[in-house]
């Protein structure tokens, strides 16, 4: 039966180069309506949290390393940064709830099938630890500091142990949605998020620590940025036509800015970060901004991919066609 819909034909690709155009197959949609729903989260709250949570988690790891290797001037700002970032995060998370007064309902159950539930329990343990570590730094050097030292040390260790979980679980959170730009990239997303977190924490270290102690931050910046940029490229290759959403519109601008700032920050840190305090601080600020841009960019790409039904339909059509091909091959 040959039919042609009167309603929303998304068959005509909008713009794009010749290569893209060939890859797009015509398909029908219901008046162009989205099929999956875009997240109702406020980008300021939730993308903001992805940045702050990543920054906090990775900073706690870096701070513990700095403390263990006798770099107090690097450890101090990282602990304070982690403590501050995680409290801002909690405020943002509660603020984004439709019923903020019911935030404690999160603690009714523990569900490994829900990355948000897992994350809540991780934060429930991490936030007090990061707070203790930060308060230890604020206690100064007198009698008070001596008294709180065991608690602060336990906090520093606990935050360092839980920090990697805080920095990485959010990748599972976004990937476990039907949002094409997030879900299709579920294999690479954890590495994108952790790389971004590492370069943000390194950025905070470079911004705040004296050059005499910022060596590890320079290395961490290079490792984190390399990991993040590689993971983003792999993700874009894996998700096929959905990768458009990372290149177009607001998301595209943010992702391009993030990449430019990351490269600038890493090159600056490697070239001048150990010599010039000013260059180190500038590189650190660039890396922090890069991480924030990347999180908001990924967030926006997800929303864009949910809005246009072609990003839902085409990958699923391709999957069905591939399954049919392999069935036919099995029968032959």
């Amino acid at each position: 039966m040959s039919v042609q819909s009167e309603n929303g034909r998304s068959a005509q690709p909008r713009g794009g180069g010749g290569r893209k155009r060939r890859r797009e197959q015509p398909f029908d949609s219901y008046y162009g309506h989205p099929i999956v729903r875009e997240a109702t989260w406020e980008s300021r709250d939730i993308a903001g949290y992805f940045f702050l949570g990543g920054l906090a988690g990775a900073s706690s790891v870096l701070a513990a390393g700095a403390q263990l290797t006798g770099r107090p001037a690097l450890a101090r700002p990282l602990k304070l940064g982690a403590g501050g970032a995680i409290h801002l995060s909690l405020v943002a998370l509660v603020h984004d709830l439709g019923r903020p007064a019911r935030f404690l309902n999160m603690l009714r159950v523990f569900k490994p099938t829900s990355p948000m539930s897992v994350g809540v329990w991780v934060l429930f343990a991490y936030a007090p630890a990061a707070t203790a570590a930060a308060l230890g730094e604020l206690a100064g050097t007198g009698e008070l500091a001596r008294r709180v030292r065991p608690l602060a040390s336990a906090g520093t260790a606990g935050a360092a142990l839980l920090g990697p979980a805080v920095a990485s679980y959010t990748a599972a959170l976004v990937a476990t949605t039907a949002t094409p730009a997030w879900h299709e990239g579920h294999r690479e997303m954890p590495f994108v998020f952790v790389g971004s977190a590492a370069s943000a924490a390194a950025g905070l270290g470079l911004l705040t620590a004296p050059v005499a102690q910022n060596g590890p931050a320079v290395r961490m910046a290079a490792l984190g940025a390399a990991g993040e940029l590689t993971a983003v490229k792999l993700l874009e290759r894996r998700i096929g036509m959905v990768a458009e959403t990372y290149h177009e519109g607001r998301a595209g601008k943010l992702m391009r800015t993030a990449e430019a700032l990351t490269v600038t920050g890493v090159v600056g840190a490697l070239a001048l970060g150990r010599r010039s305090r000013f260059a180190a601080a500038l590189s650190g600020a660039a890396l922090l901004a890069a991480s924030a841009c990347a999180r908001f960019g990924i967030f926006e790409a997800g929303l864009a991919s949910a809005r246009d039904p072609k990003y839902t339909v085409q990958p699923q059509r391709e999957r069905l066609a591939a399954a049919a091909r392999s069935d036919a091959k099995a029968q032959a």
């Binding site: 039966m1 040959s2 039919v3 819909s5 009167e6 949609s29 219901y30 309506h33 099929i35 999956v36 729903r37 875009e38 997240a39 109702t40 790891v61 870096l62 390393g65 700095a66 263990l68 709830l97 439709g98 019923r99 019911r102 935030f103 309902n105 999160m106 009714r108 159950v109 523990f110 569900k111 490994p112 829900s114 990355p115 948000m116 539930s117 920090g163 990697p164 979980a165 920095a167 990485s168 990748a171 990937a175 476990t176 949605t177 039907a178 579920h186 294999r187 954890p190 590495f191 977190a197 590492a198 590890p216 290395r219 490792l223 990991g227 949910a306 039904p309 339909v313 059509r317 069905l320």
Partner: protein, 317 residues
């Protein structure tokens, strides 16, 4: 998990969601179980799974289902507006519309069979000289592997003894995770309320031995309610019947327990590709990839620690 009180009690307070390990059961349920989701969700004694079979070849687009649903569930008015999209002025499923009738106008070759209408008069010549109107009442699919339920961090979404998926409104805190998690884009947040809402398959009516309001109101039995096994059998027969009559494009959607969501509790007979009706062609429970995702999260977290160790081990000062 303790035994649950059986059937005929619609009170949501009896739901198996309070247990601290609700999630681990549901993880196993998601990964292993097929068929009876009520049993795998902890209901020791439960009635057969209930569901909808929506036969769109019988739909006349009267929207009685939409009205009956709004009336019975006391859903707020959500805009009286003209969309210009055929007779569809509802737009889609939402927090305030739990049934939605889609209207699709298509040019077809008049010579071919038109199930809903008398054959359109041939305008002469060949090709798409005829017209057909597809109508379909959409609803929450009550998936066997329900991503919304899996990702709900409060336990507000739960599996009823009838195998359906329902939000406990006194628990939901409006985190919104279920909204992008649903592969069908069904569950939705009511903005002025903050919580999420969707079809309950009339949990209250089921508890009292009644059929859901939409099925009760449907004048052509396009919406059929019953035990899922019986509905599947009946639907297979209906497709065969339509094929014999020459409606070769009739196909079932969501009836197979082998699909990406383990089969829908509410499935459909369609007369065109799913995406024409605004349905995903190959939906997959978004939590199906979660074991692999968690593994990669673990590897990435380990890489962060390794990277930090390398940063300190290699630094001179």
């Amino acid at each position: 998990m303790s035994a649950q009180p059986s059937a005929a009690n619609g009170a949501s307070a009896l739901a198996p969601s309070g247990g601290a390990c609700a999630g681990s059961d549901s993880l196993l349920g998601t990964l292993l179980e097929q068929g009876e989701p009520a049993g795998s969700s902890g209901w020791a004694d439960h009635p057969p799974r209930k569901g909808f079979f929506t036969d769109t070849s019988l739909c006349i687009g009267c929207k009685a289902c939409e009205v009956a649903c709004k009336e019975w569930n006391q859903l707020p008015e959500d805009g009286l507006k003209w969309t210009g999209h055929s007779h569809d002025n509802t737009g889609g499923l939402s927090a305030d519309s739990w049934r939605h009738v889609a209207f699709i106008e298509q040019r077809v070759a008049a010579a071919e069979h038109q199930p809903n209408f008398e054959r359109a008069p041939a305008a002469g010549g060949e090709g798409k000289d005829g017209f057909r109107w597809l109508m379909s009442s959409d609803v929450c699919k009550h998936c066997t592997h329900a991503a919304c339920l899996d990702v709900c961090p409060t336990g507000a979404l739960f599996r009823t003894e009838f195998g359906t998926v329902v939000v406990q409104q006194d628990i939901c805190n409006g985190c919104g995770y279920c909204v992008p998690a649903c592969p069908y884009g069904v569950i939705d947040k009511r903005e002025d309320d903050g919580r999420v809402f969707k079809c309950t398959l009339c949990y209250d009516r089921l508890g009292a031995g009644q059929e859901p309001a939409c099925a009760k109101a449907c004048p052509t039995d396009s919406i059929q309610f019953g035990e899922l096994d019986e509905l599947r059998e009946h639907a297979a027969g209906r497709v065969e019947q339509l094929h014999e009559r020459g409606v070769s494009e009739a196909r079932l959607y969501g009836e197979s327990p082998d699909d990406g969501v383990g089969g829908d509790g509410a499935f459909f007979l369609l007369l065109d590709e799913p995406e024409v009706y605004g349905l995903p062609p190959d939906p997959v429970a978004t939590t199906r990839a979660l074991p692999r995702t968690w593994r990669n999260v673990g590897i990435a977290a380990g890489a962060l620690v390794a990277g930090a160790v390398a940063s300190f081990a290699g630094a001179r000062r």
